[in-house]
């Protein structure tokens, strides 16, 4: 594989950039692999990469129904953060922050990680208390957190609505300065390119139609491009988890819901942080192209449609305009939707299953993108060693049975309530 470097850029410029290697190949599936990862999204690609890099397992295939990076890794709002209160979530996400910081060098691919900081706005005294508590929990876990008062917030984001007679006045906010954004497609492509270079087969346009299970063990997978035997199989299919679980006669604490995002027309630099509205569900940042990238609530009913409905978009943008009134002057450039694997306590699942050799990675709710490296790293460990790592021990499947829920938001099982 050609390294991406200034030297190679100049060298290839002399031949009009016509001689670059393909970033990844288009192999025909082999009859058998040591590990098959189902789902060529960010998490699946990262899992294959860390299987090869950390565990020296390279006889691996990634099976993707569509094209790699065409699902949620290409549909998110690119926010990366670790501002969690519960230990399991905080330590897992902070481990991921370290991987994010090193990712561009590690993958030899510029993922444009931009640690610009995230501010969660508070709109009441009570909310300031809650944020102080969360900030303290974060700091105890070694995560940077700064509690800002109204004046400090005003200095950082003067374009927010600081007038007196508003329904949700800004009291202050909680900032994680090391949080940020990254170029989401580059994350998928970077992992794909490196995984491919280490021998992983990336098989696109290949739909899983069934599984071979006998004697409580996984034997292989039946696909639209033929049967593939595998000693171990990892499910990494986000919103499609329940569809595959049904083929395995499994019922999971997951519901699939639709989440929309949108971007405005590009404007000159105005917002250099990620900001979330504290009195509803709205988050915003500005891309390097100048578009305002925005997202918010689920559409609110079970859905597999990768496209949204206008009432939710209107509701979300109403919150945005309440927070930053200038947004009302912008034209909408694009809106889109992705299907989320909403777990029943709002936290993910990375675990073994009752079928030997079958591993499960799902339940990412609103926070799948930022978890990409940590999810891939811990899932690769779980598959390679056939046991969970301490970082994902809390993300067990049986916690719904034992009562060890990770209810970060305390929403209960009604995943559509936001």
């Amino acid at each position: 594989m050609q390294k991406y470097s200034v030297f190679n850029l100049i060298k290839n410029a002399l031949s009009n950039h016509e001689n670059w290697d393909l970033a990844w190949k288009d192999p025909t599936p082999k009859k058998e692999y040591d590990v098959v990862i189902i789902g060529g999204g960010g998490h699946g690609l990262a899992t294959a990469y860390y299987l090869a890099k950390e565990h020296n397992i390279t006889n691996v295939a990634i099976i993707e129904k569509g094209w790699i990076g065409g699902g949620n890794v290409g549909r998110n709002t690119t926010i990366i953060r670790s501002n969690y209160m519960h230990d399991d979530n905080a330590l897992f996400s902070e481990f991921g922050m370290d991987l994010w910081r090193k990712m561009s060098q590690d993958l030899n691919y510029n993922v444009m990680f931009s640690p610009r900081g995230i501010i969660n706005l508070a709109h009441s005294d009570a909310q300031m208390n809650v944020y102080a508590r969360r900030g303290n929990s974060m700091r105890l876990n070694g995560i940077d957190a700064v509690l800002l008062n109204r004046e400090q917030v005003k200095e950082i984001i003067p374009m927010a609505d600081f007038s007196e007679n508003v329904r949700f006045p800004i009291f202050g906010g909680l900032m994680q300065p090391s949080a940020g954004t990254a170029r989401h497609d580059a994350v998928a492509w970077g992992y794909a390119r490196q995984a491919d270079s280490m021998g992983v087969d990336i098989i696109q346009n290949c739909e899983v139609v069934g599984f071979d299970v006998s004697g409580g063990k996984i034997k292989g997978v039946r696909t639209s491009r033929g049967d593939i035997k595998a000693k171990k199989i990892g499910l990494c299919v986000a919103g499609s988890t329940n569809i595959l679980a049904e083929k395995l006669n499994m019922r999971l604490p997951i519901e699939t819901h639709l989440l929309q995002a949108c971007v405005s027309e590009p404007v000159k630099p105005v917002l250099d942080r990620v900001v979330t509205f504290g009195a509803g569900h709205f988050y915003i940042s500005q891309s390097d192209k100048g578009e305002m990238v925005m997202g918010g609530d689920l559409d609110g009913y079970n859905s597999y449609a990768q496209r949204g409905n206008l009432p939710t978009l209107q509701h979300v943008l109403t919150e945005g305009i309440a927070m930053m009134p200038f947004l009302s002057k912008l034209k909408m450039l694009r809106t889109w939707g992705g299907i989320m694997d909403m777990s029943m306590d709002g936290s993910p699942i990375i675990d073994k299953t009752h079928i030997e050799g079958l591993y499960l990675n799902c339940g990412w709710c609103y926070g799948g993108f930022k978890a990409t490296p940590a999810s891939g790293w811990t899932f690769a460990h779980t598959i390679a060693q056939d046991r969970v790592h301490e970082l994902n021990a809390g993300y067990s499947l049986d916690r719904f049975n034992t009562g060890h829920l990770l209810d970060e938001k305390g929403l209960g099982t009604k995943t559509w309530i936001s």
Partner: protein, 90 residues
């Protein structure tokens, strides 16, 4: 925009309704012993079907009645709606 035909009020926009989830989930009977698995299936585990899905909605900004809706989760097409105490087979 979804349009839902409330069996009490007629065709209304989705803005008048709130969602109540999978209507096929049935609470285990109270008078008999309930196993952990039955309780898990009731509280947490969902089929979350792609395709025809029977679900509860409440006409919260209308008659405030709970209703059942049969809807396609891939196309959002609504096939039929009926009162909450009516069985699916009717």
């Amino acid at each position: 925009m979804l349009y839902i035909n409330c069996p009490h009020c007629g065709m209304r926009s989705q803005n008048e309704f709130s969602y109540g989830g999978d209507a096929s989930v049935i609470r285990p009977l109270l008078e008999k012993e309930v196993s952990d698995k039955e309780w898990d299936d009731f509280v947490y585990n969902r089929k979350s079907l792609r395709g025809k899905h029977l679900e509860l909605w409440q006409h919260i900004f209308g008659c405030r009645q709970w209703i059942k809706v049969e809807r396609d989760t891939a196309t959002h097409e609504i096939f039929r709606t009926f009162k909450a105490d009516e069985e699916f087979a009717k």
